[in-house]
């Protein structure tokens, strides 16, 4: 018994490095001669390590419990627990994307300004709203002049036009900032030719995004939106299409994502190969599953077939800026598009009720 106790304490001292070199040598001699001792050493080593790890974890947990005491768990969990509103969940789900977006904006701003000062760009960006008088400027906004197309009896002819699409069933419409920036009054017109008065609700000049709100009392709830917003970015070659109002009826534009960056490497935007025309600005860019991947906002004036679209994640950012209580429950932003698997013409049939012509008066 006493021998065992001594052996055990020697093993422990040996493992803890407390023996003198002479003792170590003697002990190792004993160990190599006696398999029983060797086994005890190995077993005790495993045990001591487990005990050490156990003590270590206990200590860490105790320290973390202390730190935990300082946290006001209830108030945080009230903030982060699943929200009844889907749109808030979507915002939260994309908060990292939005953070990245924000940092990109700053970075790109810096890069672009230095780039502009050094290089003379051959082509220039045309924003696709429809104002003919601006077409010859280097940065054209392509808003189609529709002064000849008087629509509603009670309205004077609109000066410019663009496209917009519903982001909630209760009358929030997203379009490009450049379409509406100089507007005195704004109307949207659906594919049946009915106009509704809208007002600017939110503008984001940096991302060229604006959100309009229908103020007309005659506006009826649109029902659940058929499309959803795509969280991830689209890849090069992905087939995309857009609906827009370059004329008074809705027009389909078909093509593919041709670059993950916009003009001058602008990471806020995609370059897309879709023939777009004045009036397409603000139109939704959808993939084959009916997910919105972007918003058409411009084209390169000197390159054929190069148009640009603001990436969908910046739509999220815009949504993030709307106070949640201004959107009622009917706001629909499903993750899964009901258009998935439908043929193109069926998709368009469903979507076109949610795409509007934006008419600008000034």
């Amino acid at each position: 018994m006493n021998n065992d106790i001594q052996l055990e304490s020697i093993i422990e001292d040996y493992l803890n490095g407390k023996l003198t070199p002479n003792e170590v040598a003697a002990f190792e001699q004993l160990r190599s001669n006696d398999p029983v001792v060797d086994h005890k050493v190995v077993a005790h080593k495993v045990f001591l390590e487990s005990m050490k790890q156990y003590a270590h974890v206990l200590a860490l947990k105790a320290q973390m419990d202390n730190a935990h005491e300082q946290i006001d768990v209830a108030s945080i969990s009230a903030k982060v627990k699943p929200h009844s509103s889907k749109i808030v969940r979507i915002w939260r789900n994309n908060k990292s994307a939005i953070a990245i977006a924000a940092s990109f904006i700053i970075m790109i701003g810096a890069v672009l300004s230095s780039y502009y000062s050094k290089t003379k760009q051959e082509g220039s960006l045309q924003l696709l709203d429809r104002k003919i008088s601006r077409l010859n400027q280097s940065q054209n906004n392509i808003i189609r002049v529709i002064s000849n197309d008087a629509k509603k009896v009670n309205h004077a002819p609109a000066k410019f036009g663009g496209t917009g699409f519903a982001i909630s069933s209760n009358g929030y419409i997203l379009t490009n900032y450049h379409v509406i920036k100089d507007a005195d009054s704004l109307y949207i017109q659906n594919n049946k030719g009915v106009s509704y008065k809208v007002k600017k609700y939110y503008t984001d000049p940096i991302n060229d995004i604006a959100i309009l709100k229908v103020t007309d009392l005659s506006f009826e709830n649109l029902g659940a939106l058929p499309y959803s917003i795509k969280k991830t970015s689209a890849g090069i070659g992905e087939a995309v299409y857009t609906l827009g109002y370059p004329k008074d009826d809705v027009v389909l534009g078909d093509g593919y994502v041709s670059s993950k960056t916009g003009i001058n490497g602008d990471t806020l935007a995609y370059q897309i190969a879709i023939p777009v025309n004045p009036g397409n600005s603000g139109g939704p860019l959808l993939d084959n599953n009916g997910n919105i991947v972007g918003v058409i906002n411009g084209k390169e004036s000197k390159t054929d077939g190069a148009a640009f679209a603001v990436k969908s994640r910046y739509i999220m950012e815009a949504l993030n800026a709307i106070p949640q209580d201004s959107l009622n429950k009917r706001v629909a932003f499903g993750k899964k598009s009901v258009l998935q698997g439908l043929k193109r013409h069926k998709q368009i049939e469903k979507i076109q009720d949610y795409v509007f012509m934006v008419k600008v008066y000034n």
Binding site: F47, L48, H68, V73, S77, K79, K81, N93
Partner: protein, 188 residues
């Protein structure tokens, strides 16, 4: 209404250096800083606050051990790493409760942390083994062993604390306790 993490989040570098230098403050700041992120993830994926605390503490231990072992590279963000480990741990727990693990609502980017997770599983198993063995050991053995191995008391202190007439008696008692504990530990 995105969630604002507390303003006092230390930089990744501060945390790594702090942990390497055994700074309690660094660990506390790390803990307080990223807790809301994990709480949000758990609450949105069929867990409650207690689950969040358990999972988060485990994830911190994984991170802590990885930093201590010197194999943590600052190529990945601490935040992403912690999130990914917490996520992996929680998915495992959900699977154990045979709850659905598809349709997980994510809030951050996710890294592959399978290797670290497996190492953690192994350690965690040993921890439970030791915990169980100590519980089965009974008093006064449990306290003697804990005092000696965890609280690093000397045999002299233990002798006085438990009122043994001399340290040899205490040593004998400790030896007997240790033998039983080792048996329990290696058997389970």
């Amino acid at each position: 209404m995105s969630i604002k993490l507390s303003n006092s989040i230390p930089t990744d570098r501060e945390v790594v250096l702090g942990i390497l230098n055994n700074s309690e403050e660094a660990l506390n700041k790390l803990y307080v800083g990223y807790y809301p992120m994990v709480l949000q993830f758990i609450l949105n994926n069929s867990g409650d606050e207690a689950d969040a605390k358990d999972v988060y503490q485990e994830a911190i231990i994984v991170l802590y051990d990885k930093i201590k072992s010197g194999s943590f590279e600052l190529s990945s963000k601490l935040k992403t790493y912690l999130y990914s480990v917490s996520r992996r741990i929680w998915l495992k727990k959900l699977a154990q409760q045979s709850k659905k693990t598809n349709n997980i609502a994510d809030f951050e980017d996710v890294l592959a942390v399978d290797e670290d997770f497996e190492i953690h599983e192994e350690k965690d198993q040993k921890f439970d083994q030791m915990k169980k063995a100590l519980e089965c050991l009974g008093e006064p053995c449990k306290t003697i062993i804990q005092d000696f191995y965890i609280h690093s008391l000397s045999m002299q202190d233990i002798c006085e604390k438990f009122g043994y007439t001399n340290t040899d008696n205490a040593k004998t008692q400790k030896y007997k306790c240790l033998q039983r504990l080792k048996k329990l530990f290696f058997q389970s």
